[in-house]
Amino acid sequence: MKKLRILSLALAGALCVSMLAGCGSSDQGSANTPAAGGETTPAGTETGSTATGTAFKLGGTGPLTGGAAIYGLAAQRGAQIAVEEINAEGGDIQFELRYEDDVHVAETAVNAYNTLKEWGMQISLGSVTSTPGIATSVLNFEDRIFALTPSASSPDVIEGKDNVFQMCFSDPNQGLASAQYIYEQGLGEKVFIIWKNDDVYSTGIKDQFVAEAEALGLEVVGDATFTEDTQNDFTVQVSQAQQAGADLIFLPIYYQPASLILSQAAATGYTPKFFGVDGMDGILTMDGFDPALAEGVMLLTPFNADSDDEATQNFVSKYQELYNETPNQFAADAYDCVYAYKLALETAGCTPDMSAADICDALIEVFPTITLTGLTGDGAGITWDSTGAVSKSPKGMIIENGAYVGMD
């Protein structure tokens, strides 16, 4: 232990010296000092390739292990690809990325956030999932560290916090858009909802969907729910929908339980239309999933891995090469986040030697004014309002022959 401590002290010392030598200026801002201490803490996860002190320190928390790891790993990898691309270009804006594991637990996320803060995080990618995101966004607000979360979609994440922004649609907006879409396109007469009641994501979408359906006069014939503990068996929910005479089942849930619902409905010979939201994205990339089950499933999603768009193809092929998987919307959102930061930092004229609070003030000014052309969102681009909510149009997709096809 003692040896380690001496070693870490020496490392910290060496780092301080090299920094002083590198910058030369007497104005050693508070942003650099914690960075020296941060290097001596045991490295949590993979960090970016540059550690020169001339890059923006970009930190985020997400579930890198545990049941929700698929989302956290996707976001981490998406962001990593964007960071490497930007750093390889060698422009003025360089990033150093660090992700800490929060296991999709709020308490762990707070610890992970504090680790990042000690490391000297200047700008933040918030948290990947909503429950930890609500906890860390409060700290982002208090510490004046700007955050742009790729996918924590609960409105509580941004509410009342001027420096926390979202790259994903907020949950109520998805519910709203889905109800309008179903109504306008005349997709169903009698809608049944199967939602997950221990998940803020699902609950948020469902509540807004029900409210909007009522306003539009779209008939919701019933709803059934499940929890993390009962998501193996959906025979009850499916037969309730069947008894209610539903011709469309709305699924504001993630694709894993959704795939089970599809298969169990198919097994009973019940064939309503299914309509999902962005959580449904990824269903076709499950190993061994029978795409015939998802035939005709409709969903609103910001990202389509099968798109012909050159930027998307480039990203998808890089991701597949590195990780042997097709990226989902979490990866795409995180990728877009890093590019949004690049654009905003360029526009605001920020430099890596600025303190987190100064960068934060600059970004709050700039973010509502920029328009990003990213992987998520259509040709009109992605914009933000000053509350931190994103505005981009969801794409209506239908699954045909095992691939997404645009519905419009």
């Binding site: 545990g66 499940f226 503990d229 009962t230 193996n232 009850v236 499950m286 061994g288 999933f289 029978d290």
Partner: protein
């Protein structure tokens, strides 16, 4: 007819719980320890079968046998490395070790096979079902296979522990380890054997679980594992027929509660029933009341 449909769905869910509960109860009955890692051995078994069948194109039967073999070895290794050194320690220490093993297996699986869900190739197509009453009622072939497997395993285990020499040794160990040792029974080997059998059963349970519910992730085993543990307690932990009964009842109650009362309260009702049963019969439905020696 709706009721019958719910009942069949309940039995189908319950038969999965029952088959996992058999493994739990077997290990508890003999080693007197709660092997919380049982659910994760199930998960490992499912992954082995998944890779054997989908990546190496082996026939399903070979996949199941391979999964059983791997799980048997895994069970014995876990017992030898994690539980054997704690044989003289308190039961709480072993319990916590078991929880540790459970987390270890989950995280190791995630490292090895990633957390991306895999769709498990079922042992028979999920659509295969037998229609009754002009198609108003259908029972899937998988359910029938699961129940049949349950009954065969239950009878096999009852015969094994009741009639064979090894089985008798197991029962002796369960009653009094020290006395069994004095009678010339190799206690360590007997307990290892129990784990080997329990883990082989876990592999079968895993294959049936994933055949019915298709998705396979590193946490696949944990929730069914806990439900099956509940089922084992419900039926009387340590009792082999009790595990079957407990599992089936738990599945039926869960489905009926969801169907007729509320899907929101599904689990609350299941556990409320469990509490009532344990208040009336503290040893579970078929459990033997054992007087504690003071």
């Amino acid at each position: 007819m709706v009721f019958l449909n719910y009942l069949i769905n309940g039995i189908s869910l319950g038969s999965i719980y029952a088959i996992i509960a058999l493994g739990y109860t077997m290990v508890y009955g003999i080693a007197k320890m709660l092997n919380f890692a049982h659910g994760d051995v199930i998960m490992v078994g499912s992954y082995i079968c998944f890779f054997a069948v989908s990546a190496y194109q082996l026939p399903t039967v070979v996949g199941i046998l391979l999964a059983m073999a791997v799980c048997t070895v895994l069970g014995v290794v876990i017992e030898g490395l994690a539980y054997k050194p704690l044989r003289q320690a308190g039961s709480l220490a072993v319990l916590i070790t078991a929880i540790g093993v459970s987390y270890f297996l989950q995280n190791a699986a995630q490292r090895l096979w990633s957390s991306n869900p895999k769709i498990f190739p079922p042992i028979v197509p999920r659509e295969w079902s037998i229609s009754l009453f002009d198609g108003q009622l259908s029972i899937s072939v998988l359910t029938i296979i699961t129940i049949a497997a349950c009954i065969v395993i239950m009878l096999g285990l009852t015969f094994f522990t009741g009639k064979t020499k090894m089985g008798k040794a197991m029962r002796a160990c369960s009653e009094d380890k020290a006395a069994a040792q004095l009678m010339g029974i190799n206690v360590n080997r007997t307990i290892s054997m129990t784990f080997a059998i329990g883990s082989a059963l876990a592999a079968i349970a895993g294959v049936l679980l994933c055949s019915a519910y298709q998705t396979l992730v590193p946490t696949t085993g944990s929730m069914p594992g806990i439900k099956a543990f509940t089922a084992a307690v419900f039926g009387g932990i340590g009792s082999i027929p009790g595990a079957l009964l407990g599992g089936l009842l738990l599945g039926v109650i869960e489905i009926l509660a969801g169907g007729y009362i509320s899907t929101q309260l599904q689990n609350a009702i299941v556990f409320a029933v469990l509490i009532v049963v344990l208040l009336v019969k503290p040893a579970g439905l078929l459990g033997k009341a054992v007087r504690e020696k003071v």
